[in-house]
C-alpha cells in the first residue's frame, strides 16, 4: 500500500461515503423511532397479506410462520430494501472506481505513471473501501440503536447479536465490493461495471425474496448473496454466523483475488 494513494482514494470517496452513511443513519433512526407506533397495524397487515409475510420471512433468512410481528419489526431495519440498496450502492460506487472508472475518465495514464505497482494501487483502493464499508455498517448499527433507545422499543435480541448482524451485513458489503472489483478489472467503462453489478444484485434480491413462492427459485436461491445474510437466524439462535460469514468472505476473497490477477495482466487502453 502507498500512503499517497490511500489519501487520493480517501479524498475521492469520503463525500459519497459520508452521504450514504448519513442516509443510512437517518433511515435506521427513523425506523427505530416510528415503527413501534405501528406495531399493531403492522401485525394485522402481515396477517392479512400472506405474500408480504413470505417476502419478509425470506429476507430475514427464515421460513413463514416462524417470525412474529414484533421480531419482524425489530429486524426490518436490517433487511429493508433501502438499507440494502445503500450498502450495495456504496460498495459499487467505490469499487468501480479502479480500474474501470480511471480508464473511463482517462485519468489512469497519470495515476499509472507514478512509480507504484498495479498491486499497490489495488491494495490502496481496497483498503480505502474496507474502511469506508466498515464506517457505513457501523453508522447503520448506531442509527438503529439510537432509534430503538429513543422509542423505548423492546429489542428482540441482545446488543451482541445486533453487532453480529452488523458484521454479517459488513461481510455482504465486502462481497458486493469484491464482485464489483472483479467486474471493474474486466471493463473499460464504469457505467457498464455499475450496471452489471446492480444486475447481479437485483437477481440476488429476486431469488431471495421470491424463494418462498416457487420451488425452483428456492433451489436457485443458494446462488443469491442474500442467502448468506440471515439476521433472523442470528437473532433466533444467538450464535455467531460462522457458516454465512465463511461463504461471504470466501466469495469476497475469491472475487478480489481474481480481480487482482486480471488487473495484473490487462491493458489500459484509451476509451
Amino acid at each position: 500500500m502507498n500512503i499517497g494513494l490511500i489519501q487520493k482514494a480517501a479524498r475521492e470517496v469520503w463525500g459519497g461515503t459520508l452521504a450514504f452513511a448519513a442516509g443510512l443513519f437517518a433511515f435506521e433512526l427513523l425506523l427505530g423511532v416510528i415503527l413501534p407506533a405501528f406495531q399493531k397495524e403492522f401485525g394485522e397487515m402481515l396477517g392479512q397479506f400472506s405474500f408480504l409475510q413470505r417476502i419478509i420471512a425470506a429476507l430475514l433468512g427464515t421460513k413463514v410462520g416462524t417470525v412474529t410481528p414484533a421480531t419482524a419489526l425489530g429486524l426490518l431495519g436490517w433487511v429493508h430494501p433501502l438499507v440494502l440498496a445503500l450498502i450495495w450502492a456504496q460498495a459499487i460506487v467505490i469499487c468501480s472506481r479502479f480500474p474501470a472508472g480511471e480508464v473511463d475518465r482517462g485519468t489512469v495514464d497519470v495515476l499509472m505513471s507514478l512509480p507504484v505497482t498495479r498491486t499497490t494501487v489495488f491494495l490502496s483502493e481496497a483498503f480505502a473501501f474496507v474502511l469506508a464499508a466498515l464506517f457505513i455498517a457501523g453508522t447503520g448499527l448506531l442509527g438503529n440503536l439510537i432509534g430503538g433507545w429513543i422509542s423505548g422499543m423492546d429489542r428482540p435480541g441482545s446488543p451482541r447479536t445486533f453487532a453480529w448482524i452488523t458484521l454479517n451485513l459488513y461481510a455482504l458489503g465486502l462481497t458486493v465490493g469484491g464482485v464489483t472489483s472483479l467486474l471493474s478489472a474486466l471493463c473499460d467503462r464504469r457505467g457498464r461495471t455499475i450496471g452489471i453489478a446492480f444486475g447481479v444484485l437485483l437477481v440476488s434480491f429476486f431469488l431471495s425474496s421470491m424463494s418462498s413462492f416457487n420451488a425452483l427459485v428456492d433451489k436457485l436461491s443458494i446462488l443469491s448473496l442474500l442467502s448468506y445474510y440471515r439476521p433472523y437466524q442470528i437473532l433466533h439462535e444467538g450464535a455467531f454466523p460462522f457458516a454465512d460469514l465463511a461463504v461471504l468472505l470466501s466469495i469476497s476473497a475469491g472475487t478480489w483475488l481474481l480481480g487482482w490477477l486480471i488487473l495484473l495482466r490487462r491493458d489500459f487502453r484509451i476509451v
Binding site: 502507498n2 487520493k8 482517462g106 497519470v110 505513471s113 507514478l114 512509480p115 499497490t120 491493458d267 489500459f268
Partner: protein, 323 residues
C-alpha cells in the same frame, strides 16, 4: 548508453496490428523526436514504454529495466505527459505536487512551485476550473517536478500558447544539457526541427526512419531563387553547376540545389543578379515524404517528388542567404 531500447516490439489489438516489430534505441541526453501521422502507433509505443499496455511481442527497456515487468522502477525515473491529459477534477496544482510527491516518496513541492511560477499557473485553482492549456501546463509541471532522467512527452505543445511553448522549449533544452533524455512526440514539424537532434518516424505501425537531423539535412535539397536585373541579363547568364531549374521563365528563376551550396553561391556572385535566395534544407518535405509513404528507397527521391505539387511561397519572405 541507450536510455530507451525497443527490441522488435509489437502490439496487436484483436486482428489489428497497431505496432509492428519496432526496434529502436534512444541515446542519453538527446532530444528525440517521435513523429508520424495519426494512428501510426506513436501513442501505443509510448504507452508500452509506460507499462500501460503489454507488448504482444518483443521487449521495451528504459534505463535497462523491462517496461512491463519492472514498470514501477521505470516510472520512478520517467516524467510522462499523456497525449490526452486528464486529471482528477478536484486536484489543484499545490495538492497535486504534495500528493504526487508523497506517492513518489520525494519532495516535489520546491521544484514544482518554481516550474508552476515559470508557467504562470495558479496554485489553488481546481482542475475542473482550468482551461485545456492550463491543465496541460499542470501536466508538464507534474512530469518535470521530480527532475526525471527521461521525459516522455506525447504532443506536449498541442494546446499551449506560443509563449508557454518557448518556456517549455527552454526547460527541455536545460534538462537535456543536464543529462536528461527527452522523447518528444509531435505533429509540428518546425518544432521538431528546431528542438530535436534525432528523429524516428512511424507510419502504419512501422518504423520508417530513424536518423539524426543532421543526417536528414545532409540528404535534403535546398531551394534556390534568383531574380535577374533584366531579361537580357537572364538570357546572358552562364549555366550554374549543380542547380536543377524548375522554372526559368521571366526575371525570376526557381530551382533546387543538387550539388554543393557553396558552388552555387560562388556562381551567383559572378552573375548580373538583383536578388538571390538560398533556402535552408527543407526537412518538412522529407518528413511529408515519409508520412505519405513515397520514401521507400531514398530520401532524395521523396523530397523531389513532394516538391512538385506543393505551393511555392515567395522566397523573399522566408529565411535564406541573400546577397
Amino acid at each position: 548508453m541507450s536510455v530507451i531500447r525497443l527490441e522488435a516490439i509489437s502490439k496487436r489489438y484483436g486482428l489489428r496490428l497497431a505496432v509492428t516489430a519496432i526496434t529502436l534505441e534512444v541515446p542519453q541526453a538527446t532530444m528525440f523526436g517521435f513523429l508520424g501521422p495519426n494512428g501510426s502507433g506513436k501513442t501505443t509505443t509510448i504507452r508500452m514504454l509506460m507499462g500501460l499496455l503489454k507488448p504482444s511481442a518483443g521487449t521495451a527497456y528504459v534505463l535497462g529495466w523491462d517496461c512491463w515487468r519492472q514498470s514501477e522502477r521505470v516510472k520512478a525515473e520517467v516524467g510522462y505527459l499523456p497525449g490526452d491529459l486528464r486529471l482528477p477534477s478536484w486536484l489543484t496544482c499545490r495538492e497535486a505536487l504534495r500528493l504526487f510527491g508523497r506517492v513518489r516518496g520525494r519532495d516535489m513541492t520546491r521544484h514544482g512551485l518554481d516550474l508552476a511560477g515559470q508557467f504562470g499557473l495558479e496554485l489553488d485553482l481546481r482542475v475542473r476550473a482550468m482551461s485545456r492549456g492550463t491543465r496541460q501546463k499542470l501536466g508538464l509541471v507534474l512530469a518535470l517536478a521530480h527532475a526525471p532522467r527521461l521525459l516522455i512527452l506525447d504532443e506536449p505543445t498541442a494546446s499551449l500558447d506560443p509563449l508557454t511553448q518557448e518556456t517549455l522549449y527552454g526547460l527541455l533544452r536545460r534538462a537535456v544539457s543536464d543529462g536528461a533524455t527527452v522523447l518528444f512526440s509531435s505533429h509540428t514539424l518546425a518544432e521538431v526541427e528546431d528542438l530535436c537532434s534525432h528523429v524516428a518516424i512511424l507510419r502504419e505501425g512501422r518504423l520508417v526512419a530513424n536518423a539524426s537531423l543532421d543526417a536528414l539535412r545532409a540528404q535534403a535539397s535546398r531551394r534556390v531563387t534568383v531574380r535577374w536585373q533584366s531579361l537580357d541579363s537572364a538570357n546572358r547568364a552562364t549555366p550554374a553547376n549543380g542547380v536543377e531549374w524548375s522554372d526559368r521563365s521571366g526575371l525570376q528563376w526557381r530551382g533546387e540545389v543538387r550539388g554543393s551550396a557553396a558552388d552555387v553561391v560562388r556562381w551567383a556572385a559572378t552573375q548580373p543578379i538583383e536578388d538571390f535566395v538560398l533556402e535552408p534544407p527543407d526537412l518538412r518535405q522529407i518528413f511529408q515524404g515519409f508520412y505519405v509513404g513515397d520514401h521507400s528507397s531514398s530520401v532524395d527521391r521523396a523530397a523531389r517528388r513532394s516538391l512538385g505539387p506543393s505551393p511555392q511561397p515567395s522566397p523573399w519572405e522566408g529565411e535564406g542567404v541573400r546577397r
